[in-house]
Amino acid sequence: MLRTIEQINAKIKSGKIVVATAEEVVGLVNEKGVKRAAKEVDVVTTGTFGPMCSSGAYFNIKQSTPKIKLGGGRVTLNGVVAYAGWAAADILIGANALPDDDPRNAVYPGLFKYGGAHIIEDLLAGKKVRLEAKAYGTDCYPRKEYSAELGLEDFNNAVLFNPRNCYQLYNVAVNLSERTIYTYMGVLKPRLGNANYSTTGALSPLLKDPELRTIGIGTRVFMGGGEAYVAFNGTQHVPNPERDANGLPLSPSATLALIGDLKTMDTRFVRAASVIGYTSTLALGVGVPIPIVDEKVMAQAALADEDITYPIVEYSESYPLGRPGNLGRVSMAQLMSGRIEVDGKKVPTGGMASRAKGRAVALELKRLISEGRFLLTQATAPLPGAALAWEEEA
């Protein structure tokens, strides 16, 4: 082991820490080799920014008199339906939630102009939203109706929670059919009109520690401009995927469940998105710090855009019908060149995740660590299928 988390934190506090972004270490390792790079750099920062549909925020409202029990009642925020199946004062708004009168895809393709994600964004932007509640009334919570304009600071708690985030490796989406389709991978033009990808490649958090040797339950991360934690494995987490020689999975596999205080976040890294024909969703910036505890961690953190490959998946039929197989693989470097080849055809590429914003996240996290404002945590338990570096047999 090169260094422990404790030693890293001591260096952060003394201002002697050396941090590089996951893009920066690619060049560094090329130039100096893994051994020297691992010696020099203590922490590598990663970053991604893209729509993360499995996002939501839960809020605890301040009671007024008489008190109201929201649980089991009906609650809307600016008309968007919130979940009120918890206790008296807790509600949850999912990024995909919509007002009842949104036509959805009945008017095809739906525009999804204002949903749960927009509520979260509005609150972060300092706007007030209208809460309207109907409850059944009890002896201890007699009020049956409540309406108020609330800003973020008016809630006792506001917590951003993602049951699934940071998908490790994702498909490149294409459309072989004769018509335009509207998917969570964006607008896909017919007959291989475009290929859309959703990853920040060499900056993507879970691709830079692909075997999750330093990321586990309890890892502190950067989310939406604030601090958050890995609460658990994300839903749909695949514990033991097939891997290439570098340890990278061949298909979408690991995921994280993240949780953080919404009040610490900001709209630079939290944005509402309306994906046409699909949903309203929340785009989030997430950055995971990778402690360079041994040379293997550095070797994997320095994997380049040329090393990372993704399966090309057809989305008009194969994906919806769950057919196995793909149309080949392409590297991040090829995707970023603007054109890939599929079935002998040159296909222009477009993104869903933002490399530019992912870079901004990684740089912001680097700055926070360098300035002593972000300390690392030692994950307390590994994610399913993984083994933490400090728990491996020496």
Binding site: K189, A283, G350, M352, A353, S354, R355
Partner: protein, 142 residues
Amino acid sequence: MGIGVVIVAKKKVIFSFPPSLVEEPITYVLIKNYDLQVNILRATVRPRDRGRMVVELKGKKENLNKAFEYLEGAGIQVDALVQEMRHRPELCVSCTACVPMCPTGALSVNRETRELEFDHNKCIICEACIPSCSYRALESQF
């Protein structure tokens, strides 16, 4: 201005014409009688309905002015196209979803910064990019 100086002007304009004029060979007249280069950027012309065309006209300034007189005389409304497509950098996240939608390369990615770049001059206002933007960073101002 001295004799012999030919002022060539280029203008993007919108023609709006009533149903009765939809069959009028406007572009032919503009080319033949006024010696203009006519580049049709966008057209919606339906029989028995109002027609609309976005065109780029290039030619001698005096010819352009005469052509506008002809058009107005013929009952065609000509409006200058001030700003057509707008890219709003403050809303853009540089996801690049719009890039493959653009037929002219007006939308592209900067290789260094990976940020989206919009080249106004290459835009033909086809609006193909608008639905692909989930952040309302692309709007047309028709």
